[in-house]
């Protein structure tokens, strides 16, 4: 299990990185934290001729929090985001979710932007990006551009990023005032990719739900957002119509069977996790009110 030969590039700046990527085209791959790419290389499942290692590129390691949201640079590790108190205050969902990404050792190396670029339907952070209507900042030979989450994910492990483009940051947007979020997943072993997971954002005006949305992990080919508002709007959370929510979720998700669980189980699990996450928010709201 050793990678096939490749040329290692170590650019120091974003323009340099983009220049190398442009030069090597389809034969190149960005190397960030390596936690997804290196196993694929070692098993020779991918054999790029060139690795563009962005580990030494200046200016990509910042988490910035502003009125609109949280901007995460391409070299911010999952662990750095997890620890970032301001980011967690602005968008609690970030910490709620990133804690479920793998184990501490992997979070210390793996990058959040890498997770988004990798677009694994089992990844937590793509689901978060989709739910908060975030964007990816891209640098490329044709200049910079921003891609909205809704336009980014095209299929499992597929995005609209071009091979010669570099994601320099992702922007997670704040939810409207009065929004509570939750993240729940179930994995066979703690830290494994989930059998199913859900990210949830419920906006309340007083007691009443005004909007509710969910995105999913491991049960949809891309993290598209399910609008739960139709079954929850106007209700107080204690009146949670669990059956209707579950029904909506079961209809939305489209899981595949694999050696770890059949599709029907994952479908059930996604629905149950959503209902439980909503119950958790309800209990939290009650505790807050008391």
């Amino acid at each position: 299990m050793k990678p096939a030969p490749f040329v290692h590039h170590a650019p120091r700046t974003v323009p340099e990185a983009v220049a190398v990527l442009a030069q090597v085209g389809h034969d190149g791959k960005v190397l960030a934290g390596g936690q997804s790419l290196v196993p694929l290389l070692s098993m020779r499942l991918v054999t790029p001729g060139h690795l563009v290692d962005i580990g030494g590129v200046a200016g990509l390691d910042a988490v910035e929090v502003d009125e609109a949201g949280v901007r995460v640079g391409a070299l911010v590790r999952h662990a750095g985001l997890e620890r970032h108190a301001e980011a967690a205050d602005a968008l609690p969902l970030l910490r709620q979710a990133v804690r479920h990404v793998a184990h501490p050792a992997i979070r210390t190396r793996g990058t959040t932007v890498g997770s988004v670029a990798h677009a694994d339907p089992a990844g937590e952070m793509p689901a978060v990006l989709a739910l908060c209507r975030g964007t990816v900042e891209v640098a490329g030979p044709r200049g910079g551009r921003e891609v909205a989450a809704a336009d980014l994910f095209t299929g499992p492990m597929e995005t609209t990023l071009e091979p010669d483009e570099l994601a320099v940051a992702v922007r997670f947007e704040r939810f409207p005032a009065g929004t509570r979020t939750a993240f729940a997943e179930s994995a066979r072993r703690r830290g494994d990719y989930a059998l199913a997971g859900v990210a949830l954002a419920v906006t309340l005006a007083g007691e009443e739900v005004t909007a509710a949305r969910a995105s999913f992990v491991s049960v949809t080919p891309v993290p598209d957002v399910l609008d739960l508002t139709p079954v929850l709007a106007g209700l107080a959370l204690p009146e949670l119509p669990a059956g209707e929510v579950a029904e909506l979720v079961r209809g939305h998700v489209d899981p595949e069977s694999d050696i770890h669980a059949p599709a029907e189980y994952r479908r059930m699990l996604a629905a149950e996790l959503t209902v439980r996450a909503l119950r958790g928010l309800r209990d939290e709201a009650r505790a807050g009110a008391a």
Partner: protein, 801 residues
């Protein structure tokens, strides 16, 4: 006075080294060695038509490419059948490199040697092997049906079949007031040590000798096997096991093809050659275990006493049988556990499949046997509406019935005769530990909170410390350092600590002065290996006996020097002194000086032993006729039979009413391995064993598809539990000394693993009210089982047969 070491929770002496990254494993050795890699079969069953090495040679740094055709003499012959058995009528083993046919995915076909592993794998990628795929046999039902054969000349795919019977099964069964039949299944799992296999061969051209470093569980076995294969005198082959990162059974198999090919290549190339197995290779080319289908019919009376037990099982032995039929033999015999079965008949079929071969993995057939017996016990209790612990207790062999002969032949070819054990006391301790009597209250309380909990139990007896023998060598240096050698190997169990504890006590020296070497044929060429929970029993007693030899010699020499009788002397903290007169003393280092008459003084201490020192009697030769120079001694321990440890486990589990996720809330172990040399190490062994048992119960399986591809050959998809999945283990110990050996020891290495699947199945069944007949069980499987149960496609009770 030195404090007694045996029985103390002495900190493991190997840990500082291992935990600070100073362990030396095979892959840490051999800088500058060439690296081997293998082209392995992608097919489960195929004929090899042609091998095209292509341009692999042209890669700069590739030193050699070998196929079977290149192998000389005995290297080209099939690997040995290590443990022949009369019932193994159709043994088959593979070749170091496959010749005409491959019989499982992962079988080695071509060997490449190159400057580094990267290049070796690049070269492998350029080699084309042309196969004609043959229909594979995957899974026990297909093997049993035998519509296709793994080996053309093995009818029915049957490697072995063995029937043992005690008493008159048929009439006992016919007379039994109640009968039940259970169909049971246990899936495959594997040892999966974190360090895979690995070999480094150093050929010394000047000396014509070979030194082999291997991550093996038997250095002496490997030495003999490699010497035979390569046609070398034993005197020219040394095998050293450096630190080994776990074995759990898989590394007792020898020689692995790579263990023959790597030294052969080193000799041909005149250069060190190394092979370090990677994880994928380990999954597809080492060994697995456990897979069995079982059919149990039991006859019992109104009180739940066993009257007749009839067991038939089908054992998947994979593609080859180099380790014989040890695993199914152990299942067949150890199935009985602490119980008297009434009349007993057991018959098994060991079947070939086109999958990785099956050899012992921690527990070695016992987990399956325990599963069969304990599921049966629960089924009897359910049928009669009796308490599950009570049914077990009614069938126990009583302490006053020891030694108890089960009337069967065990894996060592000797009678299955339990030497000791107090099963009622063990059960009482377990019930107290887990709170057996209070559980219904707890269950009711949990139910009120919408939670579903269950309690499970399982008992086992484990034959440990099988022969034929192990040896110990103890040598005291002139500075008082004590070197201890035993030939069996160590994979992290703590032998350097426990064997030092034994010698410290026996010899009367400080623990820190004792240094233990294991698994090095230079230090102890006579040994068997590490398996069957035999390390402490065999080598513990062997080093104790060797230390006694040295002690007697030390007393004799010191008595001479101090002009007293040996009977008046004692040894403590490395000093021999006259009892009651501590001033009159000589330290062991000085005794070592006196034990070795010298012509030359290499330091001041040695001067005392030289010929003009005036310390000798001119009437006697410097070394007496019946004596040897040096303060050292050697002895061997060879028991007449195995010693039988036992244990009982209980677990409390919670199952999620919706998602069917299973959580182990409590795990309790009562364990009796006789005298505990180091209770902390015993507990560590139990914890590790339970962890592996939990893997086998809830997480691990080998997912073969119909074509014989292993779909989960990585730690991403083979779900070995993490620390987060392993429950806290509560332990209590009984110490019923074995009467069979000087130290009263029984083995502890495999104990923790044996009953876990049975216990967790029992607990899930108790929580769910659905019979659990197949392990492991995952949440999706339990979820599906609930649905089948609700739909009436499985029944809660076994029908009378």
């Amino acid at each position: 006075m030195s404090t007694r070491q045996v029985g103390e929770k002495v900190q493991r002496r190997e840990d500082p080294r291992l935990l600070t990254g100073n362990g030396r494993f095979v892959d840490d050795l051999g800088r500058g060695a060439l690296h081997a890699a293998f082209v392995r079969s992608p097919h489960a069953h195929a004929r090899i038509l042609d091998i095209d090495i292509g341009d692999a040679w042209e890669l700069e740094g590739v030193e050699a490419v070998y196929t079977w055709e290149d192998l000389p003499g005995r290297v080209a012959e099939p690997l040995p059948v290590l443990i022949p058995h009369p019932a193994l009528t159709h043994p088959r083993t593979g070749y170091c490199l496959a010749t005409q046919e491959v019989n499982h995915v992962g079988e080695a076909v071509v060997m490449v040697v190159a400057r580094d592993r990267y290049l070796a794998e690049d070269a492998c990628a350029r080699i084309r092997v042309d196969y004609e795929p043959l229909p594979p046999v995957v899974g026990i039902p297909a093997a049993r049906e035998a519509a296709r054969l793994v080996h053309d000349d093995v009818p029915g795919n049957v490697a072995a079949t063995l029937l043992q019977e005690v008493g008159d099964l048929e009439s006992a069964m016919a007379a039994a007031p109640h009968r039940l039949t259970l169909d049971l299944a246990v899936e495959r799992s594997a040892s999966t040590p974190l360090e895979g296999r690995g070999v480094l061969a150093r050929w010394d051209t000047d000396d014509g000798s070979l030194r082999l470093y291997s991550s093996t569980q038997t250095s002496t076995g490997l030495r003999a096997a490699v010497a035979a294969k390569l046609g070398l005198p034993l005197a020219k082959v040394e095998v050293v096991t450096p630190d080994v990162g776990g074995g759990f059974g898989v590394k007792i198999v020898h020689p692995w093809p790579e263990e023959v090919l790597v030294p052969w290549a080193a000799r041909v190339l005149g250069h060190d050659v190394k092979w370090t197995e990677d994880r994928r290779e380990h999954f597809v080319s080492a060994a697995h275990e456990r897979g069995q289908l079982q059919e149990v019919t039991v006859g019992f009376d109104d009180e739940g006493h066993l009257l007749a037990l009839d067991v038939r099982f089908w054992h998947d032995n994979g593609a080859y049988t180099p380790y014989g039929i040890i695993v199914p033999i152990i299942t067949a015999t150890q199935l009985l556990g602490p119980y008297k079965p009434g009349a007993y008949r057991v018959e098994f079929w060991s079947l070939y499949t086109n999958t990785v071969l099956v050899t012992p993995y921690r527990g070695a057939g016992r987990p399956q046997g325990c599963f069969a017996m304990e599921r049966t016990m629960d089924a009897i209790a359910a049928r009669l509406g009796l308490d599950r612990a009570e049914v077990r207790s009614r069938n126990f062999i009583q302490p006053e019935e020891m030694p108890y002969d089960q009337g069967l032949m065990f894996q060592d070819g000797r009678p299955l005769k339990y030497d000791s054990g107090d099963f009622p006391a063990s059960l009482a301790a377990l019930k107290a530990l887990v709170g057996w009597e209070d559980f219904e209250g707890y269950r009711a309380e949990a139910e009120r909170a919408g939670r579903r909990v269950g309690l499970g139990i399982g008992c086992y007896v484990e034959g440990t410390g099988v022969g034929p023998y192990e040896g110990g060598h103890v040598h005291v240096e002139t500075d008082g350092r004590v070197n201890v050698a035993t030939g069996l190997t160590t994979q992290g169990q703590g032998h350097q600590t426990v064997l030092a504890q034994v010698v410290a006590d026996e010899l009367g020296v400080r623990l820190e002065d004792v240094h233990v070497t294991t698994g090095d044929t230079r230090a102890m060429p006579y040994a068997v290996g590490t398996f069957a929970s035999r390390g402490a029993v065999m080598s513990g007693n062997a080093v104790a006996l060797a230390a006694r030899v040295v002690r007697a010699k030390a007393l004799r020499i010191a008595a001479d020097a101090l002009e007293v009788s040996p009977d008046d002397l004692e040894i403590a903290d490395g000093v021999v002194s006259v009892r009651g007169a501590p001033g009159t003393a000589v330290d062991l280092g000085t005794v070592a000086v006196l034990a070795n008459p010298l012509r030359y003084a290499f330091d001041t201490a040695a001067q005392a032993a030289t010929q003009f020192a005036g310390t000798f009697d001119p009437q006697r030769p410097p070394v007496a006729e019946d004596d040897e120079p040096g303060l050292e001694g050697r002895d061997f321990y060879s028991p007449t039979q195995a010693t039988f440890a036992n244990g009982m486990h209980a677990a409390v589990v919670e199952t999620d009413p919706v998602t069917a996720e299973v959580r182990i809330l409590r795990y309790c172990v009562v364990h009796d391995c006789g005298v505990m040399v180091n209770p902390m190490i015993v507990e560590g062994q139990v914890h590790g064993g339970v962890a592996q048992g939990v893997g086998g119960a809830l997480y691990e399986r080998m997912v073969y598809d119909e074509g014989g591809q292993l779909l989960n050959a990585s730690f991403m998809d083979f779900l070995m539990p993490y620390a987060s999945e392993v429950p806290h283990v509560e332990t209590d110990h009984l110490e019923t000394p074995s009467p069979l050996n000087p130290l009263g020891l029984k083995g502890a290495g495999e104990a923790g693993t044996i009953p876990v699947s049975a216990v967790i199945a029992s607990a899930i069944e108790d929580a769910e009210g659905i019979p659990i007949r197949s392990m492991p069980i995952s949440p999706p499987e339990l979820w599906a089982l609930r649905q089948q149960h609700a739909a009436g496609t499985v029944t809660a009770q076994e029908g009378p047969s």
